[in-house]
């Protein structure tokens, strides 16, 4: 394999492996938030803002993987 092939493979692996845990994390978080809203609809706005913040933190990990993949691809 040449350098170019290894780069393509590395990019694919970074995206594939790096997005597993954020996907699971956001899934769990959203399901818990839905549950909480179902139990206590009055607190929906409060839960929503906190959920969006937490999703942003979790999603950041996927974004790091994306940035690394983009750097491998374009730099």
């Amino acid at each position: 394999m040449g350098t170019e092939e290894v780069r393509m493979l590395a990019m694919a692996i970074v995206m594939g492996v790096g997005t597993i845990s954020p996907a699971l994390g956001i899934g769990i978080m959203a399901s818990k938030a839905m549950e909480a809203i179902g139990r206590n609809p009055e607190a929906a706005s409060k839960i929503q803002t906190n959920m969006i913040l937490a999703v942003a933190f979790t999603e950041a990990i996927a974004i790091y993987a994306l940035v690394v993949a983009l750097i491998i691809k374009f730099v």
């Binding site: 206590n40 009055e42 607190a43 969006i52 913040l53 942003a56 790091y64 983009l70 750097i71 374009f74």
Partner: protein
């Protein structure tokens, strides 16, 4: 398909390089300054349509901030809302037709390279890094102006070995905040641009539309997230000691509300 990780050079003033994203961010700033001047001039006691809409938005943001940090947030809310509006506007400007499609052909290393005249301001790591630095420094600024030298006990606490260690971790996390702030915004916006470029190159009509809708949504959420995180971090910085009581009070209120609701 034209994708470039870094912003391209348009022209130089002396040794200062003007990139296409710098151009876009200057335009964003100019738009905001002009809008604020005109809106400020047109302010009335009895609001018209435009003023009512803006008052509603500001009211909503104020309520959101107060639900997070209480009355103290009034002092730094202008900064947070400015972050929100600036990032929102530059995210959405980057989606306009003309951004990334109008440009010049330049000769680089022997072959023609297309250089777009504008590039979304937040699709450049320099812009987001600057925003992140302002955000993290304002956290320190408001923390020190409220708690004076006591603020430093957050990082250097010789009370006990455990407190010393958590202080060090706090110090490191301040730096990782800069990285995560800048890369989160840059990554989201740049990924959106790549996504739209790829989809448009595959099927240029109708199909990209839902992706533009997605990008408008992502732009709003990322602006909101940046502003909210700044708000939360400043709020944490304000409450070094005696913050627990404040926290308890808000929890108490929330519990009462919930019980009342039931």
């Amino acid at each position: 398909m034209h994708i470039s990780l870094v912003a391209e050079k348009i022209f130089e003033i002396g040794s200062f390089t003007v990139t296409n994203s710098l151009l876009a961010s200057v335009i964003t700033s100019l738009l905001l300054i002009l809008a604020s001047v005109f809106i400020n001039k047109a302010l009335k006691k009895s609001p018209g349509k435009m003023q009512s809409v803006i008052e509603m938005i500001i009211d909503w943001l104020d309520e959101l901030a107060q639900s997070v940090g209480g009355k103290d947030t009034r002092a730094f809310l202008p900064l947070v809302i400015t972050f929100f509006i600036f990032i929102l506007l530059s995210n959405w400007l980057g989606l306009l037709p003309g951004f990334g499609s109008i440009g010049l052909y330049e000769i680089e290393e022997g072959h023609k390279v297309f250089v777009p005249l504008f590039r979304g301001a937040t699709a450049d790591l320099n812009t987001t890094l600057a925003l992140a630095l302002v955000s993290v420094f304002s956290v320190q600024f408001y923390g020190i102006s409220k708690n004076k030298l006591k603020y430093l006990t957050r990082f250097f606490n010789f009370g006990s070995p455990i407190m010393f260690f958590t202080g060090l971790l706090e110090l490191i996390s301040e730096f990782s905040k800069i990285i995560s702030f800048s890369f989160r915004l840059f990554g989201n916006v740049f990924a959106g641009e790549v996504l739209i470029a790829v989809i448009t190159s595959l099927i240029p009509v109708i199909v990209p539309l839902p992706f533009f809708g997605l990008e408008i949504f992502v732009g709003l959420i990322q602006a909101l997230v940046f502003a909210m995180l700044t708000l939360v971090f400043i709020n944490i910085g304000l409450q070094i000691h005696g913050g627990e009581t404040h926290e308890n009070v808000s929890h108490e209120l929330a519990r009462e509300e919930v019980e009342h609701g039931n």
